[in-house]
Symmetry: C2
Subunit: 294 residues, 2 copies
């Protein structure tokens, strides 16, 4: 990772996290519910989605307080999806990021409700953001509703579940990732464009970048499952092969997957060429995503 | 039930329902997910929350297409909460309204995701309503986020779960109902006030009405569990007593509960006295709620 990107992350992650924790702490609701919501939010992670909102705003207009708030809502949606994903009736995971999962600590019922509460919370937060126009706030609510729901993340999870039962082709595999992880990543980057009143052309270029970076992220995930160690990954390596899951290496061979990764990386950078502002930071994000080891 | 109220319900329920089904049918997402969402939406119910939005609008301004859309979102939030409530890790109910519950038909994983998708969907629907000002739409998103989430319905469910472990006093019991069922009912009635640009005074009177009508509804529920038959209720009568649940009759005796019901009924009607518009319909709703047998 470049020094500039390291600095950017070190500078902004604490602010993103404190915004997020504050939004839960100020809820006038049952303490146990808030504790359960905070437990999963505080479990860490790369915070890559909120960092993208901040990075896009930084690129256009310089920093904007609203980008932290929007970033916090995305991370809350992402977190609620992990809480529900880990449930016994879904992936049945007891550990995440080295800590017991939410339902192991708080019980399944509270885990379901903590996820539900995070989901509902985000939209109210977006609706009442100060110093953002009414039209921008409405657009963000609409976009997050699409990106998080049946037309985005949740839809992708259903496709993924359905896909587990059979062998997928490349188009089907791509469609799962475009929805399951891509939709929220796209929202992160497009939300930055909305906050900065980017032109339609700039917005399309960023959406294009988000599309390729999202797929690149997923391909690298699949490659790491084969080439990484459990120690590097913080989770069991080789799980995909063992469970006979449809992945890029399974469909394309490991070399084919690496070639596909390179293609998406180049297309992501090419999309940024359409921008007139300095996109160095987004390029460094792309570098990091394809070369990361965890 | 009065003839006028019967006519009102017969006139508006089909439109509310078709709005709701249309919102799901137009989703560009996995068919199985949409089917699961529709299954629970189509399972019926009194549709009392959306009817309140329409009734309040009718009282102030005459009918408004947006009141059907807002009503549909409330019914979708209510339905998602029932889907999640019925899960094995929550109330573990196999049947609801004479039909197998969502997870019995579609499996637990899809039931969780159908609930999640309905939750996220509603906010986008509110944000993009035509012929409603941006400020009104934002206020509705903010109000629904509060009413559905940790400060409202979900918070109330957590209080209810915590309360099952011990004997509650009247204030605690009331607080559960104010959140668990009252918050969404309040949203229904207040949303009507927002759509009609009601004055602050009118809005407060309606919120007061909603508060008392919500508690009256719950007390009548508790009374019916004791005095109703399973046939009337469409569910097993006597469950509360059997499970030693904290209810109004348990805390106040059956006569005390009936007296409390009467008190809230009178206070609901008194709140309407502050309005200058014709509130006959809301009075008839109040009559129906305290005299209903199912």
């Amino acid at each position: 990772m470049s020094e500039r990107l390291q600095q950017f992350i070190a500078q902004h992650v604490p602010t993103i996290e404190s915004h997020m924790y504050e939004l839960v702490k100020e809820i006038r609701g049952p303490e146990m519910l808030k504790e359960s919501m905070l437990y999963s939010l505080e479990a860490g992670g790369k915070r890559i989605r909120p960092l993208f909102v901040v990075a896009v705003c930084d690129m256009f207009n310089g920093l904007q307080p609203a980008s932290y708030t929007v970033g916090a809502t995305i991370e809350m949606i992402h977190t609620y999806s992990l809480i529900h994903d880990d449930l016994p009736c879904m992936d049945d995971d007891d550990m995440r990021r080295g800590k017991p999962t939410n339902h192991i600590v708080y019980g399944e019922a509270l885990a379901v409700l903590a996820g539900d509460a995070l989901n509902s919370l985000c939209f109210g937060v977006l609706a009442r953001m100060p110093n953002v126009s009414a039209e921008q706030r409405l657009e963000l609510v609409h976009m997050l509703s699409e990106g998080a729901g049946a037309e985005g993340m949740v839809g992708g999870q259903v496709l993924d579940m359905e896909g587990e039962k059979r062998q997928l082709n490349l188009a089907e595999l791509e469609n799962i990732h475009i929805n399951k992880t891509g939709a929220l990543l796209r929202f992160s980057i497009e939300a930055g464009a909305v906050l900065c009143n980017a032109s339609q052309e700039e917005r399309e270029a960023l959406v294009d970048y988000a599309h390729h970076i999202g797929l690149a992220f997923q391909i690298q995930d699949d490659i790491l499952d084969i080439e990484g160690t459990s120690e590097q990954l913080g989770k069991t390596a080789g799980k995909d092969v063992e469970s006979d899951k449809s992945t890029y290496p399974a469909l394309l061979t490991i070399d084919g997957a690496k070639q596909k990764l390179e293609e998406h990386y180049k297309l992501a950078l090419a999309a940024l060429d359409c921008l007139t502002v300095d996109s160095t930071l987004l390029r460094e994000f792309a570098n990091y995503i394809i070369s990361r080891s965890n």
